[in-house]
Symmetry: C2
Subunit: 612 residues, 2 copies
């Protein structure tokens, strides 16, 4: 088992040198924190990760939750983890002080979340869902709901979940049929089924609190009729917890992420399931987007963190495992001993590929987190700007780390050769674990439609303008360092190219050709993501270059900064070129995936045939 | 569970229309066969696949082999499968009539193998390894070895294996230490450990026959001192099978491919393991390359076939699963019912991507198989030409279907959404199963070094010249069809570009800069593979176009040919552009993965720092 799963040096670089968390702690909102207290919190988190998370990574995969006698039985160690995380304040780390949270910067909490998930991504689902659910109650719920639920959730006594998906309504929530009937007692009677509910109704907590979407009888059709309810597994009556008729119907056995059950729930089968409305009727989906957007960043973090664990596992192996001779010497000395495989350029390429994806992805995720924090430390137009940037980039921050992260983990498996395919090494599990991340919380296809179909044109393109201004600021700064000028120029050209592609695609939208506009949105996302990560790498390159120019550092630090520059260059020389093919396809007008209407076929003289 | 796993219509198209198996059966070597007999054999194979392979795909994954009391226990159904395959002649399908085989064309056997592996790729390892091992004995072994082993292996009574890898020697066989000491009785005493031996010593056959590499005491160092031995699990003494001291030490638990055990073997621990030399001493690796090259094509077939099964599973799901509304109508009618997801362009793109990879890969694999067959039906220079083409393309035929196949299966998982990640659908298993194929029988890195480092320059570039002549023939033919001219021109430009890149890389080789030459060999392979598959698609496009021009066909046939042309276009419009970024990187002279010597650093004024 590999010892390292993430780099503390890199986390400190990101927090303090790149994103300057100290800027935040100078503000009123984060004024209760300082460098020392943040260090202490991080250290306590690392201790939990090292002692309670990492050592159980493989065991929790092997002993997955079971559905027995109507109960969802998870591994008993889950209780220990949830309690420790609650006691240390990590479940409530980003919730406001008023709500009983720690009011930590998202920047810091995301870095911490990355660390936890790198140690054991399977268990962080439990402790990441609860604050999201609690925050929905804290933000939109009545005082009574807050008083009843939030503290118990943040302590880890109760589990929170997000209950959206139904058997026939996954990506399209428009069609959910779970229903809520008002009663004279203030609560609603809930009926319906929910599927894939992560951590739902498991036995390692006293109670599960489902933040559930349902339609109040008589509500408008579609998403405009969706309301949000608190539906506890057990409700309180006369000071006692009693069953609230949210039955565990079963669990799904998954390829990975086995530490957390995905539960099938049936509410109101005995007509005794009570739900309490959160906020106003029919605004449920809008509220839920708060949790969904947090969960999207969280899923991006999961992708980057699993890739981090796989990177350090394969890096360690590549240093230890010997095989063959250096290519330059091949055939020269049959008696020469074998060389560590890290000396083979193909292995080094796979390692740099992983590092470039992990550290670049983390950059984009922390960038988004910092935008979230700046919304708390600024006012008016500036605050609106950061809100817009966060909203704009969220689909990218969800997608790039998960899509590229899967490729990175696969490269990690490849470094291990046959061993990587066996349970003897952890990378096979990481390969299985990360596969869900491009599906969770809106698939890559959905995120891509959000980026191109919604965000690019948001507020008449204002968000996009703001984003490109941010990128340009970085380019301008990079131009002041001779070693970085070349990369600044590349990024500038890439941005111009992306804008050209965007304009071309918006042409379809302007003509009302929505299907043509969005047909290749996923490829647009891929291109957009590569360029966003190049931006993040250039930011990191600037900081590293600046540190090297100041000089007077120890050998380890010099290696760290040189490695940053090296990996930045790797990204520009190996990953950026991929935008060329994407550009060609995105500008290509040959239509191959959109069904052509009969009338158009006749007009074009095309035959009407079934192509699949 | 999806019903379809491969397309019979497509197999017939490939066998009869594209690769014209009837041309082969006109020859003396394959004259014992005709259209009718081949159809009968294929039908009997389909029956076995439908009744004995496909229905057990998931069960054999769930009940994987176990190591108990020193024995490798596989699922009892394995015995049934091996017997059925042996009885029907499928184990010996490509061995010569003289050796007791069926002497079927490789073209036909590969198509059949694709079908079997699409139905259940996990079990075909058993029945594909045995003929490879038997063929080594039949080709290079003494008459005594042939008499003793071949018939029992082809009937399925005995299992064959390839025993190469040792704990410290995987990709680099140079360093194997298994030893063979000659005795006066004609046999050798064998000592050593072998790991990852697929199907080794399992309990569903009477005996395992290991084709094992070992070094005769005093042999030259490195690969020039490797000999090949037949090392049976049980040897015959006085007409009885007795233990031959090849101990099963354990098995590896793998992420996928669970139907077949990967065994750890220890030979000669009691100093009583006997091995019989195959052919001459020290020529073992040369002989083994016969089996290895067959296994490489076989692994390519596994990649394409798993991708085929995932394609048909996700195609079926995409027709059945409804979700959302067509993009073009979004927001227009909240009461409109949901549409099958195949109508979403993003899903259609993922399906076409899969189809393009599956059918393109199958083309390249059958092309190689046909070259193998033509070696039997031609003489002299022509025969040499086909041998060279087969040798040249084997690493590509191993790599493209496995690398692109993994992406295709991943797209299949994505089509299923959350369901694709659960055991309820077979695609999660396919995703796990296919992951080994880029490692089996020489990793992608090894294949890529073989292509660029060896094959491109083979016989002063003759193989490459012959290959490009073949591609040019296709281009010229395509130019005669107006609909294909555009694609012929694209392929022509791609070939020219590939030659330019090749020339650039060979420049490093000419200067003796081997590490720089081969550093990005894997990316060269990726580029080469895409262009090779484009060539195959153009071949299929020509045949389809010709059929459509003849006309007078039924609706299903018309759909089939139109779909071929459509998928060919998809490949050219979506996959071919990927060569642009690869070209840029391969012509890029920035060195990032090759360790730079201290002296060079000083000369370049670079710092000597650790980059990883």
């Amino acid at each position: 088992m590999a010892k390292q799963y993430a780099s503390l040096r890199n986390i400190k670089f990101m927090l303090h040198e790149v994103f300057e968390v100290s800027e935040l702690t100078k503000s009123a909102h984060f004024g209760h924190l300082d460098h020392e207290s943040l260090e202490m919190i991080f250290d306590s988190g690392v201790k939990i990760a090292d002692t309670l998370l990492k050592p159980y990574y493989e065991e929790l995969d092997k002993k997955e939750p079971q559905f027995e006698n109507g109960e969802i039985k998870a591994h008993p160690h889950i209780k220990t983890i949830i309690k420790a995380m609650g006691d240390a304040g990590f479940i409530g780390s980003t919730l406001s002080l008023e709500a009983g949270g720690q009011q930590l910067p998202e920047l810091f909490a995301s870095a911490m979340g990355f660390w936890f998930a790198a140690a054991n991504n399977g268990v962080t689902t439990y402790t990441a869902l609860t604050p999201g659910a609690a925050n929905l109650i804290a933000t939109f719920g009545s005082q009574a709901l807050k008083d009843l639920y939030v503290a118990k959730m943040l302590s880890g006594q109760w589990q929170g979940t997000m209950a959206l998906t139904e058997p026939h309504a996954g990506s399209s929530l428009h069609y959910i049929t779970s229903s809520a009937e008002p009663t004279e007692h203030g609560y609603y009677k809930i009926k319906g089924q929910k599927v894939y509910i992560s951590a739902g109704n498991h036995d390692q907590v006293e109670n599960s609190i489902h933040l559930m979407l349902a339609k109040i009888k008589g509500a408008p059709a579609g998403t405009k009729g969706i309301s949000l309810f608190v539906v506890p597994q057990k409700r309180i009556e006369n000071g006692q917890l009693v069953d609230n008729d949210v039955r565990s119907i079963g669990i799904y056995h998954k390829m990975g992420q086995k530490a957390t059950p995905a539960t099938h729930l049936g509410s109101g089968e005995r007509d005794d399931c009570r739900g309490w409305l959160v906020g106003e009727p029919h605004k449920g989906l809008t509220y839920m987007f708060q949790m969904m957007n947090e969960a999207r960043i969280g899923t991006g973090i999961a992708g980057a963190s699993i890739a981090s664990a796989a990177y350090y596992a394969s890096l360690e192996y590549a240093h230890e495992r010997t095989q063959g001779q250096p290519l330059s010497l091949k055939g020269q000395d049959p008696n020469m001993p074998q060389t560590p495989i890290i000396n083979h350029p193909d292995v080094k390429r796979m390692l740099l590929f992983q590092k470039a994806i992990v550290e670049g992805s983390l950059g984009l995720l922390l960038q988004c987190s910092k935008y979230a924090d700046l919304m708390h430390t600024t006012e008016g137009e500036e605050k609106a700007k950061y809100a817009l940037l966060l909203d704009f980039l969220t689909p990218v921050a969800k997608t790039y780390p998960t899509e590229a992260g899967q490729q990175a983990v696969s490269a990690g498996v490849q470094c291990f050769g046959g061993g990587g395919y066996c349970n003897d090494f952890p990378v096979a599990q990481m390969y299985r674990d990360i596969r869900i991340t491009t599906i969770y919380e809106g698939t890559t296809g959905i995120q891509s439609q959000a980026l191109l179909g919604r965000n690019i044109s948001m507020q008449n393109g204002k968000a996009a303008t703001l984003y490109f201004q941010e990128v340009n600021k970085t380019i301008e700064e990079a131009q002041t360092y001779s070693e970085l000028q070349k990369y600044a120029a590349i990024l500038k050209a890439e941005v111009a190219n992306l804008q050209r592609v965007t304009k071309h695609l918006l042409g379809y939208a302007a003509r009302g050709e929505t299907e043509l506009f969005l047909a290749d949105a996923t490829l647009y996302m891929e291109m957009f993501g590569i360029i966003a990560i190049a931006w993040q790498w250039l930011i990191q390159g600037i900081i590293a270059k600046r540190a090297l120019l100041v000089g007077k550092m120890q050998g380890d630090d010099e290696n760290f900064y040189e490695s940053k520059l090296h990996t930045m260059k790797f990204f520009f020389h190996y990953e950026i070129p991929k935008t060329q093919g994407l550009t060609t396809r995105l500008l290509d007008t040959e239509v191959l995936t959109v069904a052509i209407e009969k009338e158009v076929c006749i007009k074009l003289g095309r035959k009407i045939t079934k192509t699949l």
